[in-house]
Symmetry: C2
Subunit: 324 residues, 2 copies
Amino acid sequence: MLEVKQVASLIEQHILDAGFPIEPTGLYGPARYILNAGGKRIRPCLALMCANLFTDNPTPQIPVALAMEVFHNFTLVHDDIMDKAPVRRGLQTVHEKWNIHTGILSGDVMMIQSYKLLCQADAAYLVQLLNMFNTTAMQVCEGQQLDMDFETRVDVNLQEYINMITNKTSVLLGASMYCGAIAAGAGEIDANLLYKAGLELGVSFQIQDDVLDAYGDEIKFGKKPGGDIVQQKKTFLILKALEKASPPDKQTLIDVYHSKSTNEAEKITKMLQLFDKYQIKAEAELLMQTYYDSAIVALQKVSVPEANKRPLYELVTSLFGRSH
Amino acid sequence: MLEVKQVASLIEQHILDAGFPIEPTGLYGPARYILNAGGKRIRPCLALMCANLFTDNPTPQIPVALAMEVFHNFTLVHDDIMDKAPVRRGLQTVHEKWNIHTGILSGDVMMIQSYKLLCQADAAYLVQLLNMFNTTAMQVCEGQQLDMDFETRVDVNLQEYINMITNKTSVLLGASMYCGAIAAGAGEIDANLLYKAGLELGVSFQIQDDVLDAYGDEIKFGKKPGGDIVQQKKTFLILKALEKASPPDKQTLIDVYHSKSTNEAEKITKMLQLFDKYQIKAEAELLMQTYYDSAIVALQKVSVPEANKRPLYELVTSLFGRSH
């Protein structure tokens, strides 16, 4: 089995190019720029490690793994336009460095390139891969739409939130694991277990993100805690708090969350006090753990020797900074 | 063989839905809106008629035909954002009726849906179909990039222009004809002849568009002639005129074309006078005819009885408003 570092290194070697032509540079330059801006490469690493469960040499599955990363980066380019985000991975976003039109068109061509990479898989698996990829890609768009819809809604509930993050984030993790495995000859039962694991890891991961945004260490994560509160984003924390709070506390939550107060620190403190009153952080950690455990159970059911899954478990635990 | 009207009717019946889900309506509503706004449905009709050359019943190829129309409409939604176009087919463009973010995301999901439709083809032909579709989709993006690049360039030559319109417009016509045929079991030689015909028809068609924009009948085409001149667009006419004109006339062409004169009618008249002096319209018509004839020669080489091609010839001639 390849170690996590070996897989990551294989991905880094190949992502530098990802098969994009040179000309026109106005089109492909921005695609290379965002792909080379770094990132954790979680999706292609998961794909390649899942391939490695079913083949000793997963290098033929590298294009399928890259397809997942290129698709993910396409969504970042378009989402950054919609979110008006100026910075990504410490660099200017594509639409900031160039312009919105470049962001749209380079994003488009990245999506097409992700299909082109996927189609380099063994033709015998193409139908399964494309069915999964098409469905996933549509769900990711649906997730982004729901996320935008939530911005103007005040009645979003926790179930809707979990549904949104499942679509926006988790399905692509699941698809990466599924496609890596299928492209390496895995059966549907194993591939579906990996898909399920990816889905659950994704939800767990997003809830962890929500917790870290509110409670994370500024030095360790490079950003001030409370950003989501300041931006009035819907997160697990606020939605769970609204669900659990007494009517007067619920009203306070709503008022503080939507207040246009210029004192951000005070706003964050007030919100965290209410979260603490209802033990929201513990609730989040419990749900994270539930999804995480369920993912591990699914991984354990995959019909390859447990010893061969060691690097995959290592990657997964490292993503959550915890021991398995 | 199905008649042109029967093919058009089949397409209209199926385009109404094109397989989009209902929810979230903010995502799929705009996709349905643009698809139902009309249009000539040239691409899906060509696809289905090419399928019909190789099968008596081309209804199983309808999804492949729709894939071409959905992809075409995706490009319209994104291009309209980039071109800041307020109106399309007499209706507000998607980004005008909703907003740019909706235009981006609904366009994205339309592109994915075009792949989903294409993947409904017989699995035996999937590799050929996807190779053609991926290549074509990237070329269409490249064509749009070149078109945008041309806006800020003063040294575009005719060859570059033909290359741009080939990418932006013609390859999708070629791909529609190729994919329709392949999906119905055609061999590569016949499918490639149809691709070549589509490519050449596309170039001929675009040059016709350029001519009609300058010389067309206002009542017949529903728009004032000279729009391209007013908008300082690069067209066959201006590029050919620049190529043929004497140095002083060339300078006049450049000066008038880029003048910010508020008297549009005068500007159009001056340009047309210079076009006439160098017989640019005749040059355009000659090139149109050359491409058109070459397309017909390719069609004639397709190894099915000439009689079976009658409806296809009818469609092609009707698009050019001429007799074959």
